[in-house]
Symmetry: C2
Subunit: 556 residues, 2 copies
Amino acid sequence: MRLALGQFNAVVGDLAGNAKKMGEICAEAVRAKTDLLAFPELAVCGYPPEDLLYKKHFLEDNRLSIEKLADDCPDITIIAGFAENYQGNSYNSAAVLQNGRISKIYRKGMLPNFGVFDERRYFQGGTEPVVINVAGLNIALTICFDIWNIEWLKDFYKDIGQNQMILNISASPFHTGKIRKREEIISQCAKEFNCAVSYCNLVGGQDELVFDGRSMFADSSGEIIAKARAFEEDLLIAEVNTTDGDVRVEPMQPAAVQPVDIVDEVYQALVLGTRDYARKNGFKKVLLGVSGGIDSSVTAAIAVAALGAENVVCVSMPSKFNSPESIKDAQKLAENLGVEFLTIPIEPVLNQFDESLATADGWDNPFDSAQGRKGVAYENLQSRIRGVILMSMSNSTGALVLTTGNKSETSVGYATLYGDTAGGFGIIKDVPKTMVYQLAEHINKTAPPLRKGRGQIIPADVISRPPSAELKEGQKDTDSLPDYDLLDEILKGYVEEDKSARQLVESGLPKDVVERVIRMVDKNEYKRRLSPPGIKITPKAFGKDRRLPITNRYSK
Amino acid sequence: MRLALGQFNAVVGDLAGNAKKMGEICAEAVRAKTDLLAFPELAVCGYPPEDLLYKKHFLEDNRLSIEKLADDCPDITIIAGFAENYQGNSYNSAAVLQNGRISKIYRKGMLPNFGVFDERRYFQGGTEPVVINVAGLNIALTICFDIWNIEWLKDFYKDIGQNQMILNISASPFHTGKIRKREEIISQCAKEFNCAVSYCNLVGGQDELVFDGRSMFADSSGEIIAKARAFEEDLLIAEVNTTDGDVRVEPMQPAAVQPVDIVDEVYQALVLGTRDYARKNGFKKVLLGVSGGIDSSVTAAIAVAALGAENVVCVSMPSKFNSPESIKDAQKLAENLGVEFLTIPIEPVLNQFDESLATADGWDNPFDSAQGRKGVAYENLQSRIRGVILMSMSNSTGALVLTTGNKSETSVGYATLYGDTAGGFGIIKDVPKTMVYQLAEHINKTAPPLRKGRGQIIPADVISRPPSAELKEGQKDTDSLPDYDLLDEILKGYVEEDKSARQLVESGLPKDVVERVIRMVDKNEYKRRLSPPGIKITPKAFGKDRRLPITNRYSK
């Protein structure tokens, strides 16, 4: 039996476009003489369609698209995910398309309703196992989370007899470490059922999520035999044969290159997530403010990798607080990347605002007379002027504004609301500062060499200079925040692992810092809620993944 | 048997504060010689606690608070909602406190996972009915959604024999029309089970939600016998007696005044929602931009009702496009309300921005040479300058910035991102424009009379003048949008009722307008995602209630 996994980049809501692409992949699978072609979970409508599933006409259109696909592809058996209205309930379903029609439908039994998932908001759980026979092979159908609870699955399929294969169609979003978990699950599943496992995953960016592909086959010994490309479309084809009770899988292609390490993996996720957010939302160009700091430098480099240098505009918006070195580094970065670079000093507007605001009660308060400098309101004003400049340029050119905040500062609210948080998409929003440095090194290591004597893409000084918001004289991030190594360790425990202050302190972290960081995280929930989406790369990102009330007095 | 319903305003996460207040209410109930006191759903931790429920220590602290409450209040039986960790799973539970300890626990069986609710994200459903006997009366315990599915409830309690009362503790958020639905459910429940129903609801604002209280009793004939205050704390006490198989309820107080109509109800919801968002988040003062238009006028009036005139600052930020009439009306409104009023013209900053942006590619594009005026980017720039002024004042005074957008413009994106959407809370975000007018009339009708010759709180011209954003010469909302009557009808069908374009057209609405409005709604999802929270008053508000992908090509 020859089986193909059609790992493709579906667009949410684009039923016609997705079905067209599935038709093209089907033609390719037919040319490769496959018996069976599988597409990802909810392939026809993209994942996750969220409240589109509350529209009856959306479910009707899902059905029509699947029927058309069946009609267009009568020559092989296809398994394709779609959103189904069945007897008045909604299901996350897999249609079996044969001879021009829907021959069977499997309905997902295990519905995830945690993390970024809301499937019990929409779907009923299916209760009927479905086994099909294709070219002599018995194949049990499953969808995504169905195989993540082996005990449930064993019970669900217990009366079905021996299968030669479990086919799983998935829309499993990326985070660091997820691929290992998936391989374990698939391997365990193969061993428990003593059958091959074919796993077809979605690929592509959708708002905060990136689906990383890496569809795979395991044989009945549990060994992962072949894996499709990561973060790219692919058609993974294999021969599946049974001999003496074993099920063997033989790939028809050379092995696809896989990410070399976690930083490489994150980099690729960010590139794909950025490209798809821009492309799928109709943006050709992006623009961002560059300060000569590491966050904006890494963001710019990833934007160039995602969209091409010709589609990235870097804007330097210096004030008297920006050092000549960082201004120069911003320009050097833009030159290295080969992007358009523009300088708009903010001093004239800043002075005019300062003058206009002089009549406002309280505008004198920000003066910190001890230091002879203005306070936080004046710092934030600079950041907001930059936000207005970028948004104005976005309005007049149609370019998407990228924000440059990382997860560490997003966590503790070290950002100006409607200032540096103003924009449409935050590439490194879920990347801890310590990993931003690793990404910078990765970019410099893997980028094509620059012209002689030009050094590296991201100037060495950008990486070595102590981070600063440059909103007042001599400012350093460490004036307000702990060292990023310590901060990121606390944040991982508190934000991603839901640990308490007490647990963190008991694990050896300093009590005063832990408590200060937790207070900062909690009181800045409102600011995160008003920040643009960014790409999830950790096990728990801000956004749909972590839903905390703004009004909340529990902070420990 | 004497029963009290302790309808109080819990704060999410404030376990100590909530327990303290519950103790005070308990003392009052003891003084009134009641046998049983019920508190709302999740009273100890507030509702909804969202992902706080993922913290093990939060559940432990819930338990400790309940135990302390039991210890503090040994003299009567108390039913109090709390979040429970039981055998490794989380439950939405009601503790029965008697003689200083937890004597029984009921665990909610029906978990809502639609609309604003995510209970299956956190909780397992309980499987055990609980009946207690207090002063000779058999009382079946239920929590909120348990009684909304009578068939399920009948099955769940079928082996329990005859009860004299069903007690339901709830956290049921307000929207227009909800109270009628609740009364129907409670009445039906009483009749089906032939017993009294006691319903204790939460009161107070929590982020986007307002809980409206209106706890009530029904007798076994299904008649609603007594109702607690709307949008206020209350302790509703009644005698419950059985005679000849009937269960009678006799209230111990005169009937509480109820809202006179839907507009009154919405007004009260907005006042409470605003007061609680400010108060619970530590804001004493608010500030907002006032244009002399109806949205900012109504917002200012509600803010004054919520927080007092001394805590509201109105800022007029005129440009050359604001008519002298509207500028004057803004000032008149502020005088009528007795609030601080400040004028900061934006022209000087606008001109400076215009000059600074001149070097940016594309900044010439906004020139609409045919009209000799700048285009949309220039319009938005004005709005963003106002946003920066308000946010700067917020930074320097600690006041919360109120946004003034209504649901109609929020729906179609008739707003400037990071301009008039910049702020912390949007009072009328879920109020359709047509209802904003009704609120204005309501405010004028019910406000205390002004000094002689001053007319009404909201000047008549504000209500009669055609709405305009005043961002260019002679602009009217109707240049870009359909009439608000038509727009609101389309939006109700599309946004709140998930109807398709085809359904709306078939119901008699004009096809071209329907299709244009739907396109506007869908393409502005990103803008809504980046706008501050506001108070839900309709059956489906933007926010947790309506979750659509930003990246989405399905628009019909």
